[in-house]
């Protein structure tokens, strides 16, 4: 067992709690930096995609994990980010370094604007309102063809920073490092947000809106901020995704994608930054793993490499159901349980994480 003996106030404020914590993250950082020399270009591309989806997952996590507000239409913000970063570069002639943060800003402002009317909704109503907005954006892309290219879609140029271009086929390692850098900055921002008064206000709203209000949290304003921040993160992820895929149209950002994002963070573990990364890894790498497994089965002579349409979605959903039934806290929750067992060895008890029995609390009276 470990006891952290605090000798200085800075220890309460620090990002890392103890030496082992620091060592673990240093190791993780070293592995991430060394990754381009360890794996093939194809897998590196997949890892870049994992990072992009993690940013999107963090965006949704701010809203669902920290503030407790559901959103079934977050692909809309991915779309806003992707379209604005390309349009800012091609129509307004801005460099990527300016267009990228601006895309996040535009997405964030959109998030704040739609938050004003819908943030007062709860539960089902909020879910369906965001769902409707997600569907509307899908159709608005088609209607606003002059800007968005409609069904034909938009081609995203290569990312260009001071004359250095980043292309996932020509120099995948450079692109990986660029996105890794962006991810690290966004994670630090997120982590600091959680430690700020605003982050605490988010948590207060998540746990009980009535008590948060009693404590002096401005509900409407804080919820709007949460929507805005969440949309900004998702918009940044959308901008990167647009550049990464190279071409996108209205069918890239469907309601299915919003739902996938939601499933992603639930599998990873709602309420933690780790969860966004675990979920993104499962979501992106699952098709790759299925493809490898299919090839493996074929070489073993079992099954003749049959391609079943929709098997990715089916397996993804089955994993999700298993998690919801047996480990509602997601991969990160399971990891915390395993870690606690080792840290407390041999004192860990089976019922340590047991939930209290709960009864239905109706949302109709509010």
């Amino acid at each position: 067992m470990r006891f952290v003996f605090k000798t200085h106030y800075d220890q309460d404020l620090g990002l890392f709690k103890h030496t082992q914590h620091r060592v673990c993250y240093a190791l993780l950082g070293a592995i991430m930096v060394a990754l381009p020399w360890l794996i093939s270009d194809y897998l590196l591309g997949e890892f870049t995609l994992v990072l992009i989806w993690s940013i999107a997952g963090m965006g949704l996590m701010i809203l669902i994990g920290q503030t407790g507000q559901a959103s079934l239409g977050h692909a809309a913000f991915l779309a806003i980010g992707a379209y604005s970063v390309v349009l800012l570069q091609e129509r307004a002639g801005l460099p990527f370094l300016l267009a990228f943060p601006l895309a996040g800003l535009i997405s964030g402002v959109c998030g704040a604007l739609i938050a004003r009317p819908i943030a007062k909704l709860h539960g089902v109503y909020l879910a369906i309102a965001t769902l409707a907005l997600g569907i509307l954006v899908e159709d608005i892309i088609v209607i606003a063809e002059a800007w968005t290219g409609g069904v034909g879609g938009l081609f995203a140029p290569d990312i260009d920073i001071f004359g250095h271009t980043f292309n996932k086929y020509i120099n995948p390692a450079d692109l990986y490092f660029l996105i890794l850098g962006i991810t690290v900055v966004l994670v630090l921002l997120y982590k600091n947000l959680l430690r700020s008064p605003l982050g605490r206000a988010f948590a207060a709203i998540r746990d009980s809106e009535v008590s948060a209000q009693a404590m002096g949290v401005e509900i409407a304003k804080t919820k709007s901020l949460s929507f805005a921040l969440s949309a900004a993160y998702t918009g940044l992820a959308g901008a990167l995704l647009g550049h990464f895929t190279g071409i996108f149209n209205n069918e890239t950002f469907t309601i299915i994608m919003s739902i996938n994002m939601l499933m992603m963070i639930v599998i990873g573990g709602v309420g933690s930054i780790h969860g966004a990364f675990f979920g993104a890894a499962v979501f992106v790498l699952l098709p790759t793993i299925i493809a490898f497994a299919r090839d493996g089965l074929a070489t073993l002579g079992l099954g003749n490499a049959v391609v079943i349409p929709g098997i990715e979605a089916g397996i993804f959903a089955a994993i999700l159901i298993a998690f919801l039934l047996f480990e509602p806290l997601g991969i990160y929750g399971r990891w915390v349980k395993i870690r606690t067992w080792f840290e407390l060895f041999p004192l860990a008890r089976r019922d340590m994480f047991k939930r209290n029995q709960s009864f239905l609390k109706t949302e109709r009276t509010r």
Binding site: L131, A132, L133
Partner: protein, 291 residues
């Protein structure tokens, strides 16, 4: 003439939306869970009927196959609650939403695996027959949809108002703990409600399939029905039907008289407007929260 025909076909479509919405609301009223798989359950019910009655499948007579499909879907709904939904009880509402979405994925995947992804049509005795009343050509299928919806709504009203089980469901929905104390078997009641909504889904599926073709992605129609339920007011059975009818009627008129491209977003536009100005639907069922 044109107007009346659009109205009737809109009403018929609206009845199907209304029936799916009814399934949502039944479950929501009783168990406070939102079943995003309702549309997929409808699709499953339709496919089971199709597999039983179509000549290239089993070729049974129409009415018995519909009854079998209804029974299968009732058991399916019951087991869904008993085996899965019950275990996420008491978790945040979003957990139930995600679970049912995932169940919907699985149903769609399974249906695609068994029946393929090609659109198929149900060989129903109603399909493709027209009768002309006062110069308006009406499809027999459309009339059947409207009549069955009215009958089913009447039946459900009677069930909730006058039977022991119906009143037990109402009790469990109003106060779970108190219902337990009064000896209502709350768990079984909840599973029963899920079974009931399976029945409604199967009927909606058969009606929908006899109006046109179905494929595994038909279940996504559930999203539109969901919008209908919210427009009407989630938690009110007449509201669900009303919302379904509104959405169903708006669609053909928007595509006939509105600018192109806007027809399919009309229901969602209406939904957003309703949510902004009447956040709890047209027929709300909300009281002030007591802390």
């Amino acid at each position: 003439m044109d107007f009346a025909q659009l109205l009737i076909s809109g009403l018929a479509n609206g009845c199907v939306y209304g029936l799916i919405a009814l399934g949502f609301v039944l479950i929501y009223k009783a168990t406070e869970a939102i079943n995003f798989a309702q549309g997929d359950m409808m699709m499953l019910g339709a496919f089971i009927t199709l597999a039983l009655t179509n000549d290239n499948h089993m070729g049974l007579p129409f009415i018995p196959s519909v009854l079998i499909a209804i029974a299968v879907m009732a058991v399916f709904g019951y087991l869904l609650d008993a085996l899965m939904l019950r275990h996420v009880f008491g978790q945040p509402q979003i957990a139930v939403v995600i679970l049912t979405i995932a169940i919907g994925y699985i149903i769609r995947f399974g249906a695609g695996l068994i029946w393929g992804h090609e659109p198929q049509s149900l060989h129903s005795p109603l399909a493709g027959q027209d009768i002309t009343i006062a110069g308006i050509a009406l499809g027999l299928d459309e009339i059947a949809v409207i009549i069955v919806t009215i009958l089913l709504t009447g039946f459900l009203y009677g069930f909730f108002a006058h039977t022991r089980t119906g009143i037990a469901i109402q009790a469990a929905s109003q106060n779970q703990l108190a219902a337990y104390y009064m000896g209502v078997p709350v768990r079984r009641v909840y599973s029963l409600v899920w079974g009931l909504s399976g029945v409604v889904a199967a009927i909606a599926g058969v009606l929908f399939a006899s109006k046109g073709s179905i494929d595994p992605n038909t279940g996504l129609l559930g999203i539109k029905a969901f919008a209908a339920a919210v427009i009407g007011g989630f938690g009110s059975l007449p509201g669900a039907l009303l919302g379904g009818l509104i959405v169903g009627v708006i669609e053909p008129f928007a595509s006939r008289y509105g600018p192109s491209g806007y027809a399919q977003i009309a229901p969602y536009l209406l939904l957003v407007l309703v949510l902004v100005f009447r956040p709890h639907g047209l027929l709300p069922q909300v009281q002030q929260k007591k802390v």
